[in-house]
């Protein structure tokens, strides 16, 4: 008889499964768009109009950076809290409600994005993942994003409820490490999303509905990056959690240090948000001093990542020595390289080291002139979110799938080939992207071929770089196909009774070695807020003072031509009544949604 997560928490396992499958659905479409773009940009194969490239790019960015990552991580976090507290969620209906809200939000945002492909629907949101005003998307796009984020907020409430209920029964115990990681990450997310919530609710949504005439493009952009940088830690923290609590287990050993893992997560909580301005080093209207502060904070954010590198490698070494490994480097041979879960995560970690180096270049304020908005940046984040996060998620899926379905993985060899292919494909693609960026090739461009601009390569050529990017893209696509083959085929397997038990790694140095103050979440939250106030109050005040709260008069540049006049009118005159109506409509919609989803995942 197995003791999987499904056996322990059958109801919660369904939620995690639904979240994972939603995540994979986004990964499939986003990945398909990835290869379409790769071939279009490199001029290997173009079948669509270049104007549609930006619609594809918007969908690729939103579906992968937001939908794929966040659906997966709410699944992981729910697993982490329930497993480490050893208790189910407090109210299952509430859990399904936030999941449903996230699904509805995604669908609402996706409709105008996909409508951008056809002229027959007068709706579009080809504003890219960053939706910088005065480019204007359809109101439904902004509204969908809001609902999605509210869904994640409620998910956070769910995890905090579990913790409080557990704490009432275990007043003197330390917060189990996985739950500690979830809670600190959630607090960081609450602070970070205030920026995007303000940008959308106060400015972009009313503006897209025609309620306000104009916006301050620098202000909404700054509020976006208030959220836009910490969001990367929202993806990265579950990845780190997997490296801390799962990788040592797969290596055959224990986590090196529980207290330092806590220190790392506390550092991310307090330093993630006051760094967003490093995306705006080249923005006019923000003083150099503010940029310098953001740069300093960013550089110190290297610390938790460097500590993680140490702990992860030390834990792997410990595991290898438990397995009989010896010597200075000889222990590497004793690691379970045939295990796709371990190998995928280890390769993801290796790529993250490379990503750290290109990130240090990005973070170098005045060095940033050379690489800002070039293809270099795209290379960088395909190493971070595209490999460190995505490859870890895919690898760990091979462990999670049996846990949440009760079925054995269809094929471990295929899984091993899949994670290695991802690593190889990304090596080609990302390295070439970095190099192209150094030549000045811009990112976010359908056709980086110009009449009057040439990109001169000291080594190789633009043609060679494009060939590597296209080759890498094709390998990545093959890898994705293998991943989905495994996920789907596993679904067709019968129930197995010989699955590994649910659980995570023990620590060599346990929580008893960690100072109590580390678990003082209120203290860290307060420090985080103070740092945000320091880093953002003056820049925001200065931006508002310069350009006005609602900006100078800007020329609205709708990528969607139709404003939703009826909704605008309803909001203007209906006020709160309408909002209440929407809320009850949403809750009403959740019930059938939940049932439908439960059917699908069964």
């Amino acid at each position: 008889m197995s003791n999987t997560y499904l056996d322990q928490f059958p109801a919660e396992a369904k939620v995690v499964r639904a979240a994972f499958y939603s995540s994979f659905f986004a990964l499939a479409i986003g990945g398909l768009f990835g290869i379409v773009q790769t071939l279009h940009r490199t001029d290997v194969y173009r079948f669509m109009d270049s104007a549609d490239y930006y619609t594809v790019l918007t969908a690729h960015g939103v579906l992968l950076a937001i939908t794929f990552t966040i659906f997966f991580l709410v699944g992981v976090f729910t697993w982490a809290v329930t497993t480490s507290l050893d208790r189910g969620v407090e109210n299952l209906r509430f859990t399904w409600a936030w999941y449903g809200l996230m699904v509805i939000g995604t669908a609402m945002a996706a409709i105008p994005i996909f409508a951008g492909f056809t002229d027959s629907i007068d709706m579009s949101a080809s504003v890219l993942f960053t939706f910088y005003a005065p480019l204007q998307g359809h109101p439904l796009f902004y509204l969908g994003l809001v609902l999605f984020v509210v869904g994640t907020w409620l998910a956070g409430v769910d995890w905090f409820r579990s913790w409080r209920a557990w704490k009432a029964e275990h007043p003197d115990e330390r917060i189990p490490l996985p739950t500690f990681m979830v809670l600190t990450t959630t607090i960081m997310w609450y602070i970070a999303t205030l920026g995007v919530a303000a940008a959308i609710l106060l400015f972009l949504l009313p503006w897209s509905l025609g309620l306000i005439e104009s916006v301050n493009p620098l202000l909404t952009r700054t509020l976006f990056w208030f959220f836009g940088h910490p969001v990367v830690y929202f993806w990265l923290m579950p990845t780190y959690m997997m490296w801390y609590v799962m990788l040592p287990k797969f290596s055959g050993g224990k986590l090196f240090s529980d207290p330092l893992a806590r220190v790392v997560f506390v550092l991310f909580l307090i330093l993630s948000v006051p760094t967003g301005i490093h995306h705006q080093y080249l923005d006019p209207g923000i003083a150099e001093g503010f940029k310098f502060i953001a740069m300093t904070n960013t550089m110190f954010l290297l610390l938790p990542s460097l500590l993680t590198a140490f702990t992860v490698v030390a834990s792997m070494e410990h595991g290898a020595r438990q397995r009989g490994g010896t010597g200075y480097f000889g222990w590497l041979k004793a690691l379970p390289w045939r295990d796709p879960v371990f190998t995928g995560m280890a390769l993801a970690g290796l790529m993250f080291a490379a990503a750290g180096f290109s990130g240090m270049v990005n973070a170098g304020m005045n060095i940033n002139y050379l690489v800002h908005n070039t293809f270099w940046v795209v290379g960088h984040f395909h190493l971070t979110v595209g490999t460190a996060v995505a490859l870890t998620f895919m690898a760990v899926t091979y462990w999670f799938l049996p846990q949440i379905t009760g079925k054995a993985l269809w094929s471990r060899p295929v899984a091993l080939v899949q994670v290695v292919l991802w690593f190889v494909g990304m090596t080609f693609m990302s390295n070439a992207m970095h190099r192209a960026g150094l030549l000045g090739v811009p990112r976010r461009t359908a056709e980086p071929q110009y009449e009057g601009v040439t990109f001169e390569a000291a080594v190789g050529s633009v043609g060679e770089l494009n060939a590597q990017i296209a080759l890498g893209g094709v390998i990545l696509t093959i890898s994705l196909v293998l991943f989905f083959a495994n996920v789907i085929a596993t679904g067709f397997n019968g129930r197995s009774d010989e699955l590994p038990s649910n659980g995570y790694a023990d620590a060599l140095s346990g929580p008893e070695d960690a100072p109590l103050v580390l678990d003082n979440l209120k203290l860290w939250t307060a420090i985080a807020i103070v740092l945000v106030i320091f880093a953002y109050t003056f820049p925001l005040l200065s931006i508002v003072q310069r350009g006005g709260l609602f900006g100078p008069e800007v020329i609205t540049f709708p990528v969607s031509l139709e404003s939703l006049a009826p909704i605008a009118a309803a909001l203007e005159y209906g006020g709160l009544a309408t909002v209440d109506g929407v809320a009850s409509a949403v809750t009403g919609a959740l019930e059938p949604g939940r049932i439908a989803i439960a059917e699908v995942v069964r």
Binding site: A51, Y53, Y54, Y132, P134, L135, P217, L218, R221, S257, P259, L260, Q280, Y281, L282, D283, P284, G285, I286, A287, E288, K291, F292, M299, L302, L303, L306, L307, F310, T311, A314, M360, G364, M365, N366, I367, Y369, H372, N373, L439, G440, V441, P442, R444, T445, A446, E447, P448, Y450, E451, G452, V453, E456, D513, R546, G547, P552, V554, I555, F557
Partner: protein, 271 residues
């Protein structure tokens, strides 16, 4: 808290690395003088750029011996002026703003790169040493034709560079047997004086006038064209005015008495 010795060493090394990075960036700012695009410039009204003192006329301006200011407007999907011409061995301050959405102004393969945000003015001072043609791209997505948004900066040899503006006022038509007057306005927008010639070529004849201008001055040169010169086989007589490498062209239509057709080619041009 129990921290392993190796981990302590690693922690110290990490801190040294971080402080080292911050030090190199600070050195870049203070030692090498690489300033960030900041908030030095006043804001601007994007909808009223046409009447703006700075951006009403996108242009190159000389402000010192080897110092120039360039006022650039980025808009969907072009840059003005294009191309931007500046001399070698010069220090050029770009002022860039946007008429509509967010763009960038980026010289490919260099670290001349800034965001361009409506309402804000990006200021960047750049040193150009040798003559070269730089491609300019917009590297921030700005709409469906974003990939066609490009321009050029031409850094030209000093002896080929001027800020001379030439405009010609010539009649469209003259009655046969009458003389024509061609007014050439030459403006020297450099700080140094300009000594050159204005040359009019019409009906196979060339006349040359000396032009001597102080910095920032403009003058008008008047050519009077004899009726004989205008007697051609065709009733349309072509003319060309040349000042250094600036050339203006047009035609004058000679109308015979009783011939009421008139010419349709204009003669007044502006560079």
């Amino acid at each position: 808290m129990n921290v392993h010795t190796y981990e302590k060493l690693w922690l110290i090394a990490a801190m040294v690395l971080i402080v080292g990075f911050i030090a190199t960036i600070t050195y870049g700012s203070v030692g090498l003088g690489i300033a960030m695009v900041g908030d030095q410039q006043e804001t601007v009204e994007p909808t009223e750029l046409a009447d703006d003192e700075r951006f009403g006329e996108p242009r190159v301006e000389q402000i010192g011996d080897d110092e120039y200011e360039v006022y650039v407007v980025a808009q969907t999907f072009s840059f003005q002026p294009d191309p931007i011409e500046v001399p070698e061995n010069s220090q050029v301050t770009f002022h860039v703003t946007a008429r509509d959405v967010i763009h960038s102004f980026s010289l490919a393969g260099t670290n001349v790169n800034t965001m361009v945000i409506p309402g804000e003015v990006a200021e960047m001072t750049v040193e150009f040493d040798d003559p070269e043609v730089y491609g300019v791209v917009c590297n921030e997505y700005c709409g469906p034709d974003h990939h066609n948004m490009e321009g050029q900066v031409h850094v030209v040899p000093e002896d080929e560079f001027d800020l001379t503006e030439v405009s010609v006022d010539a009649p469209d038509e003259v009655d046969a047997g009458e003389s024509a007057t061609v007014d050439v306005t030459v403006e020297n927008r450099m700080l140094d004086g300009l000594e050159t010639t204005a040359e009019l070529e019409i009906g196979g004849e060339t006349s040359v006038e000396e032009v001597a201008l102080e910095g920032g001055e403009a003058t008008e040169v008047t050519f009077t064209v004899d009726p004989e010169t205008l007697e051609a086989d065709d009733s349309d007589v072509e003319w060309a005015v040349t000042v250094d490498d600036h050339e203006e062209r047009g035609t004058v239509t000679v109308i015979d008495a009783g011939d009421e057709d008139g010419g349709d080619d204009g003669g007044e041009t502006d560079e």
